[in-house]
Symmetry: C2
Subunit: 221 residues, 2 copies
Amino acid sequence: MTARRQPASSLNSRRAEICRKVAQIFCDRGFDATSVSEIARSLGMTKAGLYHYFVSKEALLFEIISFGLDRVHDEVIVPVRAVRDPEERLRQLVIRHARIITRAQGAVASLTDEIHALPPPARKKVKQRMRVYFDLVRDTLTELKVAGRLRRVDVTVAAFSLLGTIVWLPRWFRHGGRLTEEQVAKEVANLVLGGLLERQGLTIESPLARRRLSPARRMPR
Amino acid sequence: MTARRQPASSLNSRRAEICRKVAQIFCDRGFDATSVSEIARSLGMTKAGLYHYFVSKEALLFEIISFGLDRVHDEVIVPVRAVRDPEERLRQLVIRHARIITRAQGAVASLTDEIHALPPPARKKVKQRMRVYFDLVRDTLTELKVAGRLRRVDVTVAAFSLLGTIVWLPRWFRHGGRLTEEQVAKEVANLVLGGLLERQGLTIESPLARRRLSPARRMPR
DNA sequence: AGAACGCTACCGACCGGTCGGTCGGTCGGC
DNA sequence: GCCGACCGACCGACCGGTCGGTAGCGTTCT
């Protein structure tokens, strides 16, 4: 129930392979609705064989969720933290997160819905890691706000709304549709950024040409 | 598995009462993770007693989901369709939808996640009703776009993103927190509208948008 | 008036089946 | 010859669902 990021021995690569496949299964059919025998059959082994790798169904779920959170950590949090400009950081964050979510057909995002099936200690760990990510989003928004580059919005509500938009992606996006995952990621980023930032050349902009605050709009109602 | 909107006989009022309570239970613990005996116990009756009202666990779920969709129909779709101006219609839609979702602690929204537990015919009916709602959102956006009042965004992506923001609300909003459900509904509406519309002093900005630099206090869920 | 009836609302006991999980192996490669 | 990978057979618990009742109550028959 612990274990994260051991060196890739043959055991661990097999574990990772199992994690990836089972993530998809849990994502498609739901954790509770999927029996261990079904999982094993999909993997071409028996239930007893599967239990060679995982001590319980819950432990398997925990490892899968942690695996997904690792992806977010490695491919979103770490690269994005290196971006200094908060606007560009936010854009990168949305695009990167949207991309891994559409790529995995929501396996990463949707599985976090299943945390309720975890025993409380494991649930707490997952929540803590999610919290770190949320703070990154909100802190970036706060940074923009302090710089006067954000519209008059509540940063907490904005952060949650942004995340809601992203995690909802797998519910409607389908590969091979009108838009590619790359296009959707960019479209969502523009939508979100455009909605949050003070309007003024909102895609490519020079940081000089910005008002410090927006005290009044023309024609207030 | 059919049945909708009979006159309120004593039987139906009891059914509705059961629906409301069980909706909360399913929402808290999940459909698959909740046994029929648990449900019955929470209602102060036995399993056999519960089966007097519903022919199956799935039928119970279907009735609950339909009940939630009825709420959206009566309190969002119908009143909002009467609004002629598309901008005001969209604002009303967001506010009304956000309000019933926070009011019911997400019972309405979250249960639609459980459609996968329904047998295909019932699932199809639910999806059709959800589709009607989605079309209302997208058509409104298209109307705005045609009138040149929308930023350069893809209306389909925008519609799904908007809905994602709303259905994600119950994951983080808690009653008795910093914001009331009314404030959150308005804030979200401003956020969404502001992000979509051509800027021109068109949002009524909420007084909540004052800077808040204090650290985080809550997590999703 | 009151016995008889019908019907709703519900219960205790029980059913076949499946669940997550265990255990004593077997077998192939180092 | 040992050890990691895996299997077939099996377990008790619990699942969704059924069945034969019955307590209570309004209506009807006499």
